[in-house]
């Protein structure tokens, strides 16, 4: 049984159809990436999984139970942590407080436990350690992204949803970030990664899907996808 399974999901934003027919599976321990042009429905897929968008039809199953009718705050308690596009750092809270709030799905933690876990995050993300007590909005884009992933990991997720983590980051920072994603994966977290940086994404993924205007087009291993014309087409819009 896959950890996560979407069966023929369709979703709408108001009257605009975001997803037409999306089916995908993520097995325990995998890194799966979701590729596609802007507006293809990648973010909408993640939002549908985490409950921000309720599917109009189709089913979402996680860890053996249907979750498509659940509220986001319930879903995260089952172990899906969604690090959304645009980082969404709480601007008026400090870096440390942002990280601590990542545990909101886990009930009360002892002070000791909290300290240990926060320290662990600063170990994985040493870039943000110096800004521990700075307010979130003062961080640069790369630092905010690290913080957002750290906050997402504090949920101790079985499945981590990462939405365009490389967005707006300089190449050297992107490389750091992907190195960190490998570390997270090696520690046993299953990851569903949405990226527009296809090479980067496929370099860490076990499998990938390509979305086009709300529908699944191609599925395959990184090797298959990199050799696929449609993947290139999805990125440079039929050019190339």
């Amino acid at each position: 049984m896959p950890l996560l399974e979407l069966k023929n999901v369709a979703s709408y934003y108001g009257s605009v159809q975001a997803l037409k027919n999306v089916s995908l599976q993520v097995e325990q321990g995998e890194v799966v990436t979701l590729l596609g042009a802007n507006g293809a429905g990648k973010s909408s897929t993640l939002r549908t999984i985490s409950g921000l968008l309720r599917p109009a039809s189709g089913e979402v199953w996680f860890d053996g139970q249907p979750i498509h009718a659940m509220a986001p705050e319930k879903i995260v308690r089952l172990g899906i942590s969604h690090v959304p596009e645009g980082r969404r750092i709480f601007p008026g809270l400090t870096v440390r407080e942002n990280i601590m709030l990542g545990t909101s799905n886990r009930g009360r933690l002892s002070k000791q436990q909290m300290e240990t876990e926060v320290a662990e995050m600063f170990e994985i993300f040493p870039v943000i350690k110096p800004f521990e007590n700075a307010l979130g909005w003062t961080l640069s884009g790369g630092q905010q992204q690290m913080l957002a992933v750290a906050r997402g990991l504090m949920a101790k997720p079985k499945l981590l949803l990462l939405d365009e983590p490389s967005l707006g980051l300089a190449p050297v920072i992107v490389q750091q970030l992907f190195a960190t994603i490998r570390v997270i994966h090696s520690r046993g977290t299953t990851i569903l990664l949405v990226e527009q940086n296809a090479n980067m994404a496929l370099s860490v993924a076990n499998r990938g899907y390509v979305l086009e205007t709300g529908e699944m087009k191609v599925e395959g291993t990184p090797k298959e996808l990199l050799g696929n014309e449609e993947v290139r087409a999805a990125y440079l819009g039929g050019h190339g």
Binding site: G51, L52, P72, E73, R88, F90, L101, R151
Partner: protein, 293 residues
């Protein structure tokens, strides 16, 4: 009485009154931060609190501290009802409908209390009788109580928001609701807590100010307007600003009433408000918040 003593006496009164404005302003700010709307019935929370106190203490003849506790608890419950009756059904509809709805609640509260208690203002006694005489300056006990309680509440609130997880969750809710939900923070509950706390805070202000002003139907609106002026003068949505703004208004108003004219006492706050809006619309502490959504 010499001029210095006079000034001291006036300053003392101003600070005490200002504390009341600050307490109500704190309630305002919390709700603004949680829901992005101004609650126009915030002042009536104080009025209702004072009348509930009258009902328990004077009408039912209960002991002071029991009445006090019951009044605060009742206000908390009321805050919850207010959340579900006035705010919650309109939460997706922009700020104008919510403002109007809270305004409707204000009218409803004032006139319901009027029907129940009549138009005659009520008296509440001081918590402790008497006061302290220092030279020619008399420090009324109720004013001292108000100042002390305000200080305690401000300290409590600071601790609550900055040093507890629930306080941080409340702040997170006020800053980005969708993100808060993604982290598992029960946003609806957080907003309900905000209303409960704000109503209790308003009720506390009412119970405290009851012995100083008369307990009347209109007491809430006038306090609320000054508290709102305090939030703007201090910086919209800023906790520190609300406290300083409240004290500032209380003090300026007391001096202006003493040296200029009493009948227009209530107008000075508004005058200051206009001046601040024209010359420094972001308030004392407010920064020009970055426009990025």
């Amino acid at each position: 009485m010499d001029a210095l003593a006079n000034n001291f006496q006036v300053l003392f009164q101003g600070l005490a009154l200002g504390s009341i404005y600050a307490l109500v302003a704190l309630g305002f700010v919390l709700i603004i931060r949680a829901t992005n709307v101004v609650n126009f019935a915030q002042g009536d929370f104080a009025m209702l609190g004072a009348y509930i106190m009258v009902a328990f203490l004077v009408n039912a003849g209960m002991p002071y501290w029991l009445s006090f506790a019951l009044a605060i608890v009742a206000m908390g419950v009321f805050g919850l009802l207010f959340n579900y009756g006035v705010y919650y059904p309109l939460r997706h509809r922009g700020f104008l409908p919510v403002i109007i709805s809270t305004l409707g609640a204000s009218i409803f509260l004032q006139n319901s209390v009027l029907a129940l208690f009549g138009a005659q203002p009520k008296r509440l006694d001081n918590v402790v009788a008497g006061g302290i005489q220092i030279g020619s300056v008399f420090l009324d006990s109720q004013y001292l109580v108000i100042l002390a309680v305000t200080m305690v509440m401000v300290a409590f609130q600071y601790f609550f928001f900055e040093h507890t997880m629930i306080g941080k969750k409340l702040q997170a809710t006020s800053q980005d609701k969708d993100m808060a939900r993604l982290l598992g923070i029960p946003v609806a509950l957080m907003i309900a807590i905000t209303f409960i706390y704000s109503a209790a805070l308003g009720g506390l202000a009412g119970v405290l100010v009851g012995p100083v002003l008369f307990v009347s139907i209109g007491m809430g609106s006038i306090i609320a307007l000054k508290a709102f002026a305090a939030t703007i003068i201090g910086g919209f949505g800023d906790v520190k600003g609300a406290i300083v703004g409240g004290l500032f208004i209380g003090v300026v108003e007391s001096f202006a009433a003493f040296y200029i004219s009493v009948p227009y006492k209530d107008a000075y706050a508004f005058l200051m408000l206009f001046l601040v809006l024209v010359f420094r619309p972001q308030g004392f502490f407010g920064e020009k918040v970055s426009e990025k959504a």
